[in-house]
Symmetry: C2
Subunit: 708 residues, 2 copies
C-alpha cells in the first residue's frame, strides 16, 4: 500500500474486507455493536479439583460439561431442573459458579442465592429481603452479608438475619464501596476464608456536600441529593470494621495518618489472624501497607512508599497459598507494577518480577502456591498477555500469540483456558498446556462483520515531544482512495487509567466509527501521555496540569494527520466523553482553530468541580495548586472558540456533575460567544440503552453538518 | 401600494422612513432598544392642590416646576440639596412623589424613605434594616410596613420597629404578594387611609411542593428550593390579617368557601370601618365580594358572580370619594369589564358603563367623586384611550387621538396630563383641558430611528373561523420588493392577558425584529383568540383546551401569509417565549410541516407542570380535565416533528420550571427524534441584561441558518 511508507509504523494490521455487500445505518451501528461482535463461549469455568469444565448453552439455560481430553460435551444440569429441585425461579444460569467439585452456586444476580449439588440434585436456597443490596454470599458457611440502606446485615444459614451496624444517621454508611471506587475499590464487604470474620468499609459522609439532581420522573420534579465531595472540600471519613460472627462484636480501624486518609485494598490473611489495609494519606503521595490483628490492633507496617506525584495502590495483597500468610504485593515504585513476595513478619520483600512494562493483575497461583500467573502488556502496550513466574523470580510468557487474552488456570495446574482476540483474530478460545500447546481447540469465531462494509483499521505509533511512543488507531473508509482528501474525526479520551488503542478485535473501536468511515471520514484515536498501561513516567507527566501535556500529544497526532496527503486539514473534528469531553473542549478552546468542530459529552470544565479522590490525586487541592487549576479551567478560555462546539450532559450525571457544563455555558454567554448544548434527561454520566442511538446521531450529525 | 388590495385591513399605518443611512447590528438592536426609543419626560407629576407640576431633569437629579399657564420652568429642588438638608445619600430623584402641596416623598427604591418640605427645606428620614423587603411607606402617619424573611414588621416614626407577625415556621409568610400574583395581586401590605390599620396577606405554604433549582454560582453547586404549587396538587392556604396599630392586635379573615380558595383585591373603605375582599373558589368559577368589619367579622356579600368558565376579579373596589364608603366595582359579567356603582349597604349596584369593549383600569376620580376616569380600548382594541363617566352613567371619550395614552388628572380637575404614542406618533406629551383642547404642549418626541434602516410596520386584521377579528402586525423590509419571495418569522405569544399588536410606536415590536427585516425577512405577529383586551367571549374560548384554538388562529395567519404573492410559504419560522414557547412548540409538533424552523423559549410543554392559580383557571385540575391536559401536552406529539426546533430554558426559571423542557426532551429522545436545546445558566424565566444579546443571536442565527 502506497501510503504505508509515510507512516512510522510499529505494526500495521489491516482488517481483511472480503465481501462488502451489507451496510448498517447509524442506529444499527450503535445498537447492534454487541450482536455483531464475534461469538464467545458462555461462561467457561473449570470444575474444581478436576480437568473438567462447563460452558453455558447459547440460551444460558443449560450447563454443558466436558473434559480436556473428550471431544464430546453433555448436559450436566439446566435451569429447569434446578428450579424444580429447589423450588426457585431462576431465569437462566448466567449467574452461576462452581463452589466445589459437585456444588454449583446459582443466583439471580441480586437477592436469591442457591447451592445445588449436581450429583445428589439437592441443595439449599438463601433469599434476602427485597431491599437488600451489595449481597456477598459466602458459600462455604452459607452466609450472606448485605446492606439495606446505610446499614450492614448478614443472613444466617437458618434464614434469620441480623444487623451488624445499626446507624440511624444516614451519613454513616457501612458495607458499600467507598472513596468513589478509586484505589481499585469496588465493594465494601470482605469475608475471611472460613466465613468466621467479615470486614467492611464504613464511611462517615456527614461533612460531604449534598449535590442536588433534579428528578423529572416525578410530578412535581423533586430533588435527589448525592454526596459529592468536591476537590479541596470536606471529604469522607473512613473506618474498616471487623465483625466477628461468633462474638457478634465489631472492631474498628481508623486511618493512622489523618481522618480523611484512605483505607484501601482490605484483605484477611488466609490464617484469619490478620487484616491487611493499604492506607494512603489525603495528599495521595504516601502509603503504608498496615497489618492489624482481627481485633483491630495495629501490628506493623509491611510496606511504605512515598512519591512526589502520587502513590496509588490498586491491588490487595495476594496469597499464593492458603497455608501461609506470606503474600505478593504489587508496587509501581520502580516505574512499573512489579511483584514483591512479602513475609508477614515484615522481613525484606523480594522482587519476583522486574518488568519494564505494565503488569495488570495477578490471575491465579498454582495449587501449592509456587507459581503465579499474571496479565501484563509485554513490550507492546496494546497487548494483554499472560505470564508465569515463580517465587524465585523466574518469569516466562505463556501466551505466544499477540493480542488481548483472557485466562483461567485449570485446578490441577496442567492446563489453562485461553481466549484471545487481536486486530487479526476475531475471537479464539482454546485449552492450552502450560508448555504452550493447544490441548483442545474450543472456538474460532467468525468475523460477523465480514459481509458488511466497514473501514480498514491500522495501529501505529508517533513520537511525543519527550520521545515517548504514542499509539494511535486509524480507521480509513473501505473504498479509501489516497488521491482524495478526507475529513477526520479524532475520537479522544486521554485520561488516566484508560487505553483506547488495544490489540483486540477492531482495535477497541466502536461500530459507529465504521459507520462514519462509510460516510467518507477517517476516524483517528491516539493515547496521549497520562493514559493507561504505559507505566508511571508516561502516566504521571500530567501531574498538577491535567489537560496540558495531553493536548500536546493530541496535537502531535493532528500534525501527523495534516502531514498526510489524503487528509483535509481544514476539516478536522474532535469528539470525546468525560475526560474525553474535557479534552475535546480543551482542544477547541485552548488550541482554537485546529479543529473545525467539536462535540464534548459530560466534560470536566474546571477541576474544582470534580471529586476529591480522583481530582486531588492528579491536581492536588485547589489551594495547593492555584495555577494548575486556573490554567486548565476551560471557563477561562471561552472567548477563544473558533468553529462549532456542542456540549452534552446527562441531567443526573453523578460523576461529572452538570455544574461543569453550566458554568462553562455561563462563561460563553458572558463573553457573547455562541456554543451549542444538549442534555439527556434522567441519564447519568453515560447515555446507555436505546437512547444511545439518539446520542450518536446527535453527535455525528452535528459533526458532519458543521464540518463541510 | 399594490399589495394593499389583498389585505382585509382595519387600518394600515406605514411608518415613514425618510433617511435610512444608519444601521444597527443584532447586538445593538437588543441592547439599544431603550436608547433608541422616543424621548419621554421624566416622571411628570401634578403638585397636589395646585395647577403646578414637576418633571425630573434628564439626569434625574433636579426637579423642575412649572404651571399650566407659564412658559417657563424653574428648579424647585435637587438631590444634592435634599441630601445636604436631610443627611441622606440619594443618588437621584427617580423615586420621588408628591405627598401634599409642599411635601415630597423621596426614596432609594428600597429601604430609605424621606419626607422633604420644599418650602421650609426640612424633613424627616426613615430608614429600614438592610434585609427589609416589600416596604410600604404611609407618608401621612410616617410609618413603614415591611417584611423581613417571612414576617411582617412596621417602623414607627420614632424609629423603633415592631413585629406584627412572629412566625418561626418559614412556611407561614406574611406581607408578601400571594397566589403567584394572579387576580391583580402585586403586593401583600395594605394601609388604611389614616394609617391606623394595616391589612396584609398571610399564606401557609406548608403543603406546597418544594421545587429544586440548581445554584451553580456556589461551589459545590447547591439547591435553592422554591415553593411551586403545581396544577391539581396542594395549594397555598391564605388569610388576610388586619392589624390595629393602636390595640396592637391582629384579626384574621379566612376564606369562607374552602381553605385553598383565593382572597383577592383587598382594600379598606375610606371610613376605615370595613375591609373589602374578593373571594374566589379554587375552581375559579365563583366569586364573592365580601364586606368585613375591621375586627374580621363578616358582614355581607356585596357582589356575587359565577361562570361556567372562570371569574377573575383583578381590580379592588374603587372609592370615588373619601367621604363615602360607596364604591365602584369592575365586573366582566356581561362579557366586558364595566363599572358598577355599589352601595356599601348592599343595595342593588348600578351600571355606570355598558361598553362593548375592554375597560382596562380606573385612573382617577375628580375631587368630589362625581366623575370617574378610566382607560379602555374603545372600539379598536389596539388603542388605549381615556374615558370620563359620571355616576349617572354618562360616558364620554376624552382622548380624541387614537393611540396608547397615559393620563394624570390635575388636582383641581380642570386639566389632565396626556402622553401618547401610536404607529404614527413617536411620543407626544401635553396638558389638555377637559374640553379636549391643548392647554400646554410639553413634548413632541423625535423618531430616534429616523436615520436608521428599519422595516415598514403595518397593522391589519384577519377573520377567525368564528368570525372574530384577529389583529396582526406585519413588518416588511425597508427595501421591500413585492415581486420577490420573502421568508417569514412569526413571532407569537398567544396567551391570556397579553396583547402583542398595539397602536403604539413600532406597534409594540422589538428592534431585533427590524434587524431581521434588514436581513430580508418579514416579521409577522397575530393576537389569537384567548389573548387580551378583547373581552370574555374572545378570551375564554380557550377554556380547558389551552393551545388548540390559539393554534387555529395562528394558522389563519399562516394561510393569509401563504396567500400573499411575496411570501415564500416554504420558509416560515416561528418563535416565542413562555406561552409563546408553548405556542411555538405546539405549532411545530401539532401542525408539523407548516413551519420550517421554530425556537421556543421557556415553553410550557404540559399544563400539569404549570402552577395552580393560572393553570387551573384555564385548564381546571388534571383529574377534572384529563382529555384537555392530554390533547395539549406536547410530550405526546414529539414523533411528529418536521424541520428544526430549538428549545431554550433559563436554568433557574421559577415560572415555567425546567421540568417542562426536560420532559419534552425525554420524549423526543425516547422517540428517536432529533431536536436542539440550549440553556441560560442562572437566568430565570426571561433572559435579561447583556446576556439578552447572546439569546437573540442564538435565536435568530438558528432561524436564519435553518430556514434557507
Amino acid at each position: 500500500m502506497r501510503y504505508c511508507a509515510l507512516l512510522f509504523l510499529c505494526f500495521s494490521l489491516l482488517t481483511n474486507i472480503l465481501a462488502q455487500q451489507k451496510t448498517f445505518d447509524l442506529k444499527e451501528s450503535v445498537l447492534k455493536q454487541r450482536a455483531l461482535s464475534p461469538a464467545r463461549l458462555n461462561n467457561f469455568q473449570w470444575i474444581p479439583e478436576t480437568d473438567e469444565y462447563t460452558i453455558c448453552s447459547a440460551d444460558w439455560k443449560s450447563l454443558q460439561r466436558s473434559t480436556v481430553s473428550s471431544e464430546k460435551s453433555t448436559e450436566l444440569t439446566n435451569v429447569n431442573e434446578i428450579n424444580q429441585k429447589l423450588g426457585t425461579s431462576f431465569a437462566h444460569l448466567g449467574f452461576s459458579s462452581w463452589v466445589s467439585k459437585e456444588i454449583l452456586e446459582v443466583s439471580d444476580g441480586g437477592s436469591v442465592f442457591a447451592l445445588y449439588n449436581v450429583v445428589s440434585k439437592t441443595g439449599s436456597v438463601h433469599e434476602l429481603p427485597e431491599n437488600a443490596e451489595n449481597a456477598h454470599f459466602h458459600a462455604a458457611s452459607k452466609k450472606i452479608a448485605f446492606t439495606i440502606e446505610n446499614n450492614l446485615y448478614f443472613l444466617e444459614s437458618d434464614k434469620t438475619y441480623r444487623p451488624i451496624t445499626k446507624n440511624k444517621d444516614k451519613n454513616i454508611v457501612s458495607g458499600q464501596t467507598y472513596a468513589r471506587s478509586e484505589f481499585g475499590i469496588s465493594e465494601g464487604i470482605f469475608w475471611s476464608n472460613s466465613g468466621a470474620l467479615l470486614a467492611f468499609y464504613q464511611k462517615d459522609e456527614s461533612a460531604v456536600h449534598d449535590y442536588p439532581l433534579l428528578d423529572i420522573n416525578q410530578t412535581p420534579g423533586a430533588v435527589k441529593f448525592i454526596k459529592y465531595p468536591m476537590a479541596g472540600q470536606a471529604s469522607e471519613k473512613p473506618r474498616v470494621g471487623i465483625y466477628n460472627l461468633k462474638t457478634k462484636k465489631t472492631a474498628f480501624i481508623s486511618p493512622r495518618s489523618g481522618i480523611d486518609s484512605y483505607l484501601t485494598n482490605v484483605v484477611f490473611t488466609p490464617s484469619e489472624k490478620y487484616l491487611l489495609v493499604a492506607e494512603v494519606n489525603r495528599d495521595q503521595n504516601h502509603m503504608w501497607l498496615n497489618l492489624y490483628d482481627v481485633k483491630g490492633t495495629f501490628i506493623r507496617t509491611l510496606w511504605e512508599e512515598a512519591n512526589d506525584k502520587w502513590v496509588e495502590p490498586e491491588h490487595p495483597a495476594f496469597f499464593p497459598s492458603n497455608n501461609s500468610d506470606n503474600f505478593i504485593w504489587i508496587s509501581e515504585k520502580n516505574g512499573f507494577n512489579n511483584l514483591y513476595y512479602c513475609d508477614i513478619k515484615g522481613e525484606n520483600p523480594k522482587a519476583i518480577t522486574s518488568n519494564k512494562f505494565v503488569l495488570k493483575e495477578i490471575l491465579a497461583a498454582n495449587e501449592d502456591g509456587t507459581k503465579i500467573y499474571y496479565s501484563a502488556t509485554g513490550p507492546n502496550p496494546c497487548n494483554t498477555l499472560v505470564y508465569e513466574c515463580d517465587l524465585k523470580g523466574n518469569n516466562r510468557l505463556l501466551t505466544t500469540q499477540e493480542g488481548t487474552h483472557r485466562f483461567a488456570l485449570a485446578p490441577k495446574g496442567a492446563y489453562y483456558f485461553d481466549a484471545y482476540s487481536s486486530l487479526e483474530v476475531a475471537n479464539k478460545e482454546q485449552i492450552m498446556t502450560l508448555n504452550g500447546k493447544i490441548a483442545k481447540p474450543l472456538l474460532v469465531a467468525n468475523d460477523q462483520l465480514a459481509d458488511y462494509e466497514i473501514g480498514t483499521t491500522e495501529i501505529g505509533t508517533l513520537k511525543a515531544n519527550d520521545g515517548s511512543a504514542l499509539y494511535y488507531r486509524m480507521i480509513r473508509p473501505s473504498n479509501f482512495d489516497p488521491s482524495k482528501k478526507y475529513p477526520v474525526l479524532v475520537y479522544v479520551y486521554g485520561g488516566p487509567h484508560a487505553q483506547m488503542v488495544t490489540n483486540s478485535w477492531l482495535a477497541g473501536a466502536n461500530l459507529w466509527m465504521h459507520w462514519l468511515t462509510n460516510q467518507g471520514y477517517i476516524v483517528f484515536t491516539l493515547d496521549n501521555r497520562g493514559s493507561g498501561e504505559r507505566g508511571f513516567e508516561f502516566e504521571s507527566q500530567i501531574h498538577r496540569q491535567l489537560g496540558t501535556i495531553e493536548m500536546e500529544d493530541q496535537l502531535t497526532g493532528v500534525n501527523y494527520l495534516k502531514s498526510l496527503p489524503y487528509i483535509d486539514g481544514n476539516r478536522l473534528a474532535v469528539h470525546g466523553w468525560s475526560f474525553g469531553g474535557f479534552m475535546t473542549t480543551s482542544l477547541m478552546l485552548r488550541q482554537a482553530g485546529v479543529f473545525n468542530v467539536g462535540v464534548a459529552g459530560g466534560p470536566v470544565t474546571d477541576w474544582k468541580f470534580y471529586e476529591i479522590m480522583y481530582g486531588e490525586r492528579y491536581m492536588d487541592r485547589p489551594e495547593q495548586n492555584p495555577d494548575g487549576y486556573k490554567n486548565n479551567a476551560l471557563t477561562n478560555y471561552t472567548k477563544n472558540l473558533k468553529g462549532d462546539l456542542l456540549l452534552i450532559h446527562g441531567t443526573v450525571d453523578d460523576v461529572v456533575v452538570m455544574q461543569h457544563n453550566e458554568a462553562l455555558l455561563k462563561s460563553f454567554i458572558e463573553n457573547g460567544v455562541q456554543v451549542d448544548y444538549f442534555v439527556y434527561p434522567m441519564h447519568p454520566h453515560n447515555v446507555s440503552g436505546k437512547d444511545r442511538a439518539h446520542l450518536m446521531e446527535k453527535v455525528l450529525r452535528y459533526i458532519i453538518e458543521n464540518n463541510q
